[in-house]
Amino acid sequence: MTNGGQRATRSALDAWVNRFDLRITALIDPAGVGTRTLNTYGVRESAFIVDLSTMRVVRRINGSVAGIGPSAIQQIVPTILELLRRGP
């Protein structure tokens, strides 16, 4: 995650996790690399499904940066549930 277009700090990550009571893996860029994730993967609010055997992007959805409409997560969750249902 980033923080207002800058590298997110640990305190920002903690605030985000605590605000939404997140129970998922939550990460930020390490110090010294700037906004590397933003520069490499793209802008928020985007969601990817990755095949862990090949690390290929199976599905990518870009949500609205303005927060309009269903989020990328809302749109992509049915797809990953279907993939998990099918199995490897």
Partner: protein, 135 residues
């Protein structure tokens, strides 16, 4: 996230428990079968006797030489990398909270370094990656 792969083991457990349940039939035939069945204690003695000879059949060397199945993915796939569908997502390093079980708030876990390669696990299944921004 709960994988449906758990359904197999759960179904198997249910079947085994069913075998051990007490018959509920009230027919005379059901009662007769219950009387003729060996008691639990008798079965336990039979099993214990059979187990005594079993360890001698397994050479200790074989146990020591057994190789565990790989529990980690192989090397990270080669590029070229990208973030569009069909491309290989680049292996990045991060720091934060790795919450594998989802049973507690992530900030209750240890803050530390990780990478996409670390998060691949055994290389099976799928990962959901979400890019967010704290405003």
């Amino acid at each position: 996230m709960h994988s449906p792969r758990w359904l197999g083991p759960l179904a198997l457990c249910a079947a085994l428990l069913g075998c051990g349940s007490t018959p509920t039939s009230s027919t005379p035939a059901g009662d007769a079968a219950a009387v003729d069945a060996p008691t639990v204690d008798a079965l336990a003695v039979d099993v214990a006797t059979a187990d005594v000879a079993a360890p001698e059949d397994v050479p200790a060397d074989d146990v020591a030489a057994a190789v565990d199945a790989a529990m980690t993915a192989g090397p990270y796939p080669e590029g070229p990398y990208g973030s569009r569908e069909g491309t290989v997502l680049a292996n990045l390093e991060w720091e934060g909270y790795v919450n594998e079980l989802g049973q507690e708030r992530s900030t209750a876990l240890t803050f530390g370094p990780t990478s996409l390669q670390d998060l691949r696990g055994d290389g099976r299944g799928y990962a959901l990656v979400h890019l967010a921004e704290f405003l």
